[in-house]
């Protein structure tokens, strides 16, 4: 890696930091945008005035807003995410406990959906217009249009209530009991994957068809290269490069999906934490969750950008300054 690539990456990192900074300001401001007193809301209206005051001091809420912000960020750098009013525990402990559960559902969903999506996309493009393409395209239209939470409920109704082959709800850590984890995770992972499969497969199909119509495919054909090799080598590599970006975008959707899926399947992860926190006005949890999610998506985008540079020879060499 030469200087230019390093400069490029550095620039991307600086922009990412700027974005995270903007989001952190927004997250802190959220609490103050709400009508009413956040401490009152958090402690309830029966709480005594001196308790509320004492709490205000403890949460740094007696200080001016910019000081609150600075203290929060300072704490974050020390690994201190503040205190949750609702759970009466350090936020860090709550997040540390719940994050692995969200990952245990979200990560398999991303991997499974990416693999299936690319396979389906290729099948469609290669058999364009034939029945297999039409059926998969129709299913993709259905998959894209079905709300995740309803899909979850429908899945529970069919597989848990009617057929009784899967448990209704809940979560077991894969490190505690892997078999139980798989049984409980099948439905949520499947429900989360379906819209992503539909989205990425559609994109793969479009890209692949686009690649097959390019001049270089005509060249390969004119030189007697077999149709299979053209599709699986010459067109596929061109088609998959933009798909990397799409999979990066899908990770954003996973977060939204996990809020819904954790709600439907009663999985105590970050998504359900956020819902509970918002419903109970625990903005000390919310500001951390928003920031965490933003850091996650920004890093994924950064990673995709850098990865893209390594896959696409054109970008890679341009950055080398060749």
């Amino acid at each position: 890696m030469s200087g230019n690539m390093a400069v490029y990456i550095l620039k991307r990192i600086l922009i990412a930091i700027l974005i995270v900074f903007l989001v952190s300001v927004f997250a802190k401001a959220l609490m103050h945008m709400l009508p009413g007193d956040p401490v009152r809301l958090a402690m309830g209206f029966e709480a005594k005035e001196e308790d509320v005051e004492a709490f205000r001091v403890r949460m740094n809420l007696d200080k001016p807003i910019h000081m609150q912000y600075i203290l929060w960020v300072k704490g974050l750098f020390k690994g201190d995410m503040g205190w949750s009013v609702l759970y009466d525990r350090p936020n860090r402990d709550i997040f540390a406990e719940r994050l692995p559960r969200s990952i245990a559902i979200g990560l398999p969903a991303v991997i499974i959906s990416s693999v299936f999506a690319i396979i389906f996309g290729i099948i469609c493009a290669v058999n364009r217009g034939k029945w297999s393409d039409q059926i998969i395209t129709f299913l993709m239209t259905l998959g894209l249009g079905t709300p995740v939470f309803w899909l979850g409920i429908f899945g529970i109704y069919i597989f848990a209530i009617r057929l009784r082959v899967l448990p209704i709800q809940g979560f077991t850590s894969p490190f505690v009991n892997f078999g139980e984890y798989v049984r409980k995770a099948i439905l949520p992972v499947a429900c989360m994957s379906i819209p992503m499969i539909a989205g990425v497969a559609r994109q793969t199909r479009t890209n692949m068809l686009d690649a097959i119509n390019q001049d270089y495919v005509r060249t390969a054909r004119a030189y007697g290269i077999s149709e299979r090799k053209i599709q699986m080598k010459y067109a596929l590599k061109n088609a998959l490069i933009p798909v990397v970006t799409i999979i990066g975008l899908q990770l954003r959707i996973v977060i939204g999906g996990s809020v819904l899926i954790e709600n439907v399947f009663n999985i105590p992860g970050i998504g359900s934490l956020l819902v509970t926190a918002i419903n109970n006005r625990d903005y000390f949890v919310v500001q951390n969750a928003v920031l965490l999610i933003s850091i996650f998506t920004v890093s994924v985008n950064l990673l995709v950008d850098i990865l893209y540079g390594f896959i696409d020879p054109k970008i890679r060499l341009e950055r080398k300054g060749g």
Binding site: N213, D215, T219, A220, A222, I225, S226, Y234, G322
Partner: protein
């Protein structure tokens, strides 16, 4: 000239679109002998490229479809084979190789030049990867690309347009085909590179004793090299003959117009280029009469009433025309068409090349 190597009879290719059937190639017959160089001339969309793609059965399908005709290559009718059959694939590259118009997009952007060259050489020369790589370097050297070892590891976008077209020529020549088809090989290049690349192509073809079909819209560029010329208009061949006949005694009004619209260095500066008025016809539900009729300044009553004229031989020569009338035009004659006030050299719809 040697034996007849390719004989095409009554080739028809159509594109089936929402609006209807577009007859891109309409009853085209031609031939080429060993070591012969012929040119296909015409405006954009006249079917000259589709004709060549049809020979190799690589017309994009759907919507394209070869609807009839015979393509005899070394005595075998290629259209008897399915487009993706092994027989057809063995002809592509090794029998007939094609060089395309757009050097920018004809090479795959995500594989190195060497990768693409060796893939094809391995396929047609039946050699291992290492030998193919060596042959690839040799091929690049033969098309006068400097530092071929380095260029093999380059991606196409790292090369200039002229370089890329040289790579395409190397690819074509090193498949050792009998016929090379060059579809507007120099249109996308700078004027200075155009001549070099064309010169290189022709000299390689002569050196390896191949036949060459050059497809072009610019007659002036190729006349020094070609033996015979086919002029196409609206999917049909409307005039054919030896280069000398066509250049000095064109007989079809369209060919006359075509020659009048080509700039000539030896001509006086003051002489104006004469464009052909109007635009090429709509190819769906074609007018059964002569397709050039709306643009023809020689049209008479016969043309208005009779169907499209069949290609007919003029006397004993190899000169054929598809025209009801028998006019003898001169290249410089200003009798054809109207003078465009701007006097631009404009070849009908061929403004973009």
């Amino acid at each position: 000239m040697g034996e007849r190597i390719l004989e095409v009879r009554n080739l028809c290719t159509s594109f089936f679109t929402h609006e209807g059937e577009v007859k891109a190639v309409n009853d085209v017959s031609f031939h080429i002998d060993e070591q012969e160089i012929v040119a296909f001339v015409g405006e954009s969309g006249c079917g000259k490229t589709v004709t060549q793609l049809s020979l190799l059965q690589i017309v994009p399908a759907p919507p394209g479809k070869i609807t009839g005709g015979e393509v005899f290559f070394k005595g075998r009718d290629l259209l008897q084979h399915k487009p993706n059959s092994p027989e057809m694939r063995s002809v592509r590259g090794a029998g007939i190789a094609m060089i395309f118009q757009e050097p920018m997009t004809s090479l795959n952007p995500v594989f190195t030049v060497g990768h693409q060259l060796t893939d094809i050489i391995m396929l047609h020369r039946k050699v291992g990867h290492k030998e193919a790589w060596e042959m690839g370097i040799e091929a690049l050297r033969s098309v006068e690309i400097p530092e071929p070892e380095v260029r093999m590891r380059n991606y196409p976008f790292e090369l200039s347009g002229g370089m890329r077209q040289r790579v395409m020529i190397a690819m074509a020549v090193y498949c050792n085909p009998d016929i090379i088809i060059a579809d507007e090989p120099t249109t996308a290049l700078d004027v200075t590179t155009q001549a070099q690349v064309l010169e290189l192509l022709v000299s390689l073809v002569k050196q390896h004793r191949k036949s060459l079909i050059i497809v072009t819209h610019n007659l002036g560029v190729v006349t020094r090299y070609v033996d015979r010329i086919y002029v196409m208009y609206a999917g049909r061949i409307i005039e054919s003959g030896s280069t000398e006949e066509i250049m000095t005694k064109p007989r079809h009004p369209y060919t006359i117009g075509l020659l009048n619209s080509v700039p000539k260095i030896e001509k006086e500066r003051s002489e104006k280029l004469i464009p052909i008025k109007g635009a090429p016809p709509w190819l769906i539900d074609m007018d059964p009469r002569c397709t050039f009729l709306p643009r023809c300044s020689y049209a008479c009553e016969v043309c208005e009433t009779k169907e499209f004229p069949k290609l007919r031989r003029l006397g004993e020569s190899d000169h054929f025309i598809a025209c009801h009338r028998d006019i003898a035009g001169s290249i410089t004659g200003s009798t054809t068409g109207r003078l465009d006030s701007a006097g631009r050299h404009d070849l009908g719809g061929e403004a973009h090349g």
